[in-house]
Amino acid sequence: MNQVMYTVDEVSALIREGKSLILAGDERTLKKLPKGNWIAGSIPYFLDVDGGKFTRDHIYVTRVPEFATKSTVKVYSPEGISEVYNDAPQNGFSFIILPAFSSIHASFALESPTYQNFACSPLIGWISGTALDDLDYAKPKTFDGISASEHQNKAVVFHVELPANKAADIQIINLMEQGDGDIITFPKSGFHASEALINGEKMDFASYLNDRDIDTKLPLVADMHGAMINTSFQAIDVENRRVDFYAPVFDGVTYKIAKPVEHYVNSFKERVPEGLEESIYFSCNCILNYLYASLEGKSLKKVTGPITFGEIAYQLLNQTMVYMTIEDI
């Protein structure tokens, strides 16, 4: 069983040894790390081998593979993030962390599918966050170890080149499927909506959800050639006719409310392939899955990783487990 959670002293020692690391931890813990070849994002929730846990003391460590032929840390501003696919290695992967509720988070969410060379190289990562009790005052952060700086509106990326006989493969596990209900489209893309077209008829979307008593733990689901892509509900404000989402809805995409999920945890376990924990390089899972499945103290077949405010598999996802394997080819 591989150790994934480390103390500050242990991580500091790895950094001083020159290891290249991708880290997740509480902001106060990450601030104690020395300069080095690492990137990090703030979050205090994790899936450890023995189950979900909240800790401000330990750091989740993913090592850049020893067989990588080159690895480079790059920090992106909102103006430069559209270059992330252009900067990706010819063969390898890029690991990205963005801070939640920032303009770079919003712009990546809305625009990444239109970046030049979108999806031409594996891009995996997550959206950093805070303890849920700290949301009113704490800001999600990213960190780059090269300058040992923290960022509230910059993405940190590790571009990792692999030898020609290795390839990275990104997959998702999504419990959600489109339900049998109304067809929902939106007149414009964005993180919030006031109106939607319900079966082609323009409606006040907040009232629509409220009047039908729709369970907003169930996300909107788009079927993208068989890939189920969620957009999770953040808040419904009937008075002000506003619905907020954790990821944008897109003009031109057809959504349906997800089918109800029975036995959330068991359904998740059933979808995790047997033996995945042995072949997985990295995975992360959504804070909403952590909450709705009550994952604290529960193991998902020993798959580990940070619990996140958004998952990235080429583009921003919601309420999804994302993982990457590195295969011999």
Partner: protein
Amino acid sequence: MPLPNINHPIWKELITKRPEHQFDFFAFKLILSRLNMEYEKNPSPQAIETYARELKAFLEKNANLPKLQNDVRKLFGNGAMV
């Protein structure tokens, strides 16, 4: 056999219709969906050619990935290579 030339009708079919095949490679599903949406907004012949070039370039750039090779075989037959 290399991928068909950009003028081959299969590229337009991929951009304008939902193929019957179930694809395996996650990124392929995403990019195909995005190009389908772009087509809905701009179905001009010039735009379709741009989308087709982007799709062909995507397949060529990911040519070493076994899952994508499976998807390419579903579309173009066993002899197709990227």
